[in-house]
């Protein structure tokens, strides 16, 4: 069976040739099946976000190749990749345009599907109806505030909206970079629950960076542990089921010879 995502031995070095040179990714490979939901944990500077940036196309890799759904995207520009890759960041302010309305933000997200529609077309009544239905799913009452500016929403509301936008047109791959980390616990739970629901329902292949070890084992069907630009541990299936946080810490130590060092890591 063909894999959904194939990252083949990619390397990325920042500031090459200078004293600050840092190899952020070191011949890293990832192979995801269709519908895989991977959680990723790792020390500070392990290369988690760099991996996401490389896959999303924020920069091109120094070597190696990336295939998504059978398509070679190694040198595809970022904005073209984002047609098939949904992305969320930790900062709720990053995913939405504050001085535009909820409706306009959703329309922008919907542009991805709008292959063939004229760039000079306005938001149609049918689009609005669709946005309204999608917003209602969030259970935040946003469907009645479609003409409100996004800048007026709370961080949690904005992040929920961003989730909706990232999955508005079902992406081939969804990248979540600690997308609940900046929210208060109750809101974080809600956004996480929504994430599970949407990802499950649409069978989206997904990678999620988290600093919550328990969450990392509870959610999804695979867990990566990263260190020094490599994936040092990849647990799935039966092996993952009985795993505890302590087991994970031990495995990390066995794999790298170091203790897991992340100043924000939550162990429970």
């Amino acid at each position: 069976m063909e894999k959904m995502l194939d990252v083949n031995e990619i390397s990325v070095t920042f500031n090459p040739g200078s004293p600050d040179a840092k190899q952020a990714l070191n011949k890293l490979s990832v192979h995801l099946d269709d519908g895989d939901f991977v959680t990723i944990i790792g020390s500070n500077g392990a290369g988690k976000s760099t991996l996401f940036n490389a896959v999303a196309g924020s920069f091109f890799v120094d070597e190696g190749s990336i295939f998504l759904g059978g398509q070679d995207i190694t040198f595809l520009e970022e904005h073209k990749r984002s047609r098939i890759i949904g992305r969320m960041f930790q900062d709720p302010l990053k995913g939405t345009a504050p001085s535009m309305t909820i409706e306009e933000n959703l329309a922008l997200a919907y542009l991805r599907s709008a292959e063939g529609t004229s760039p000079f077309s306005h938001i149609s009544g049918r689009d609005k109806q669709l946005f309204r239905e999608k917003l209602a799913m969030l259970n935040m009452g946003l469907e009645d505030r479609m003409k409100h500016q996004v800048g007026l929403l709370s961080g949690g509301q904005r992040q929920a909206l961003t989730l909706l936008m990232a999955t508005m047109v079902t992406p081939k791959l969804l990248l979540l970079d600690e997308h609940t980390a900046a929210l208060d616990p109750a809101t974080a739970d809600k956004v996480l629950e929504l994430t599970r629901e949407i990802v499950g329902k649409n069978h989206i292949t997904c990678m999620m960076i988290t600093h919550n070890m328990k969450q990392a084992l509870e959610i999804g069907n695979r867990t990566f542990l990263m260190a020094d630009g490599k994936i040092v541990l990849d647990v799935k299936g039966e092996e993952r089921k009985g795993l505890t946080v302590d087991d994970l810490l031990e495995k990390f130590k066995a794999g790298t010879g170091k203790a897991l060092d992340n100043d924000r890591m939550l162990l429970s």
């Binding site: 504050p98 535009m100 329309a107 542009l111 004229s118 000079f120 938001i123």
Partner: protein
Amino acid sequence: MLYILKTALELGLLYSLVPMALFLSFRVLNIADLTTDGCFVFGAAVSVQMAAIGQPILGIPLAMAAGALAGFITAFIHTKMKVPSILAGIITNTGLYTINLMVMGWSSNVSLLKKNTIYSMFKSLQFLGDWSGVVLTLLIVALVAFLLISFLGTRLGLSIRATGDNIDMVRASSINPTFTITVGLCLANAMTALSGAMVGQYQKTVDINGGTGIVVIGLACLIIGETATGRRSVKKGAIAAIVGSIIYRIIYAVCLYTKVIPVEFLKLLTAAIVAVAIAFPALRKMAAFQKKKMEHTSGRAFAQKGGDGKDA
């Protein structure tokens, strides 16, 4: 008095597309586009030269195309060559000086004597008399404003607005910022050039220095207009450009006739208005901080006297 108002209205409308262009580049796209000065003269030169060879109507779209080209060059230098946008605008603006001289036949001033312009042609229809100039300009400006507002609601327009609002989000939603910035700057400069084209034919002359400082005046007009209409929506922004431009010209006319402020001081005053208005959010923050600091100090004094310090 009526005459003064009419002149102010005429000039306000003629120049109103400059603040409207700046609304698009500065407010919507968040780029200070300094191509404006040279672009205004470029539009005026093309339109006047076309009128000189008997093609005043054709001169208008041609001037707009010329402006769009200038905008394209600035956008290209900025997005593709990665030059900061302000510098990109200055580079194009400087180059345009030579281009403008070339268009004007290597002379610093061109006048249209007894040549037809869109204004003389419209006037010769003979149903509006003295007000025909104002009406024609108003028609053009209203049409442009309507098209701009409508355009910013389209998919492409929304993408342009998002580019100025949150570029991170734009990249993540499959919009190419290079493309949206380029389209935005082309449109903005086409509007600036259209303003120049109208002014050129209206005054039947173009001067190589006719655009000096027009970007700052345009910003002042926009800011004045925004205080009058608010700046919450696209519609208000476009209307603010027109209203602000007219108010500015009324102030100008009043200064000119009453000599309350000598006209020579007007550019300095304009610059000051723009500086203060753009600095306003920072000034307000500073004032709030000072207030907080004072409250803190007096609150502590209050607490020492036995209060809880929270009410101070």
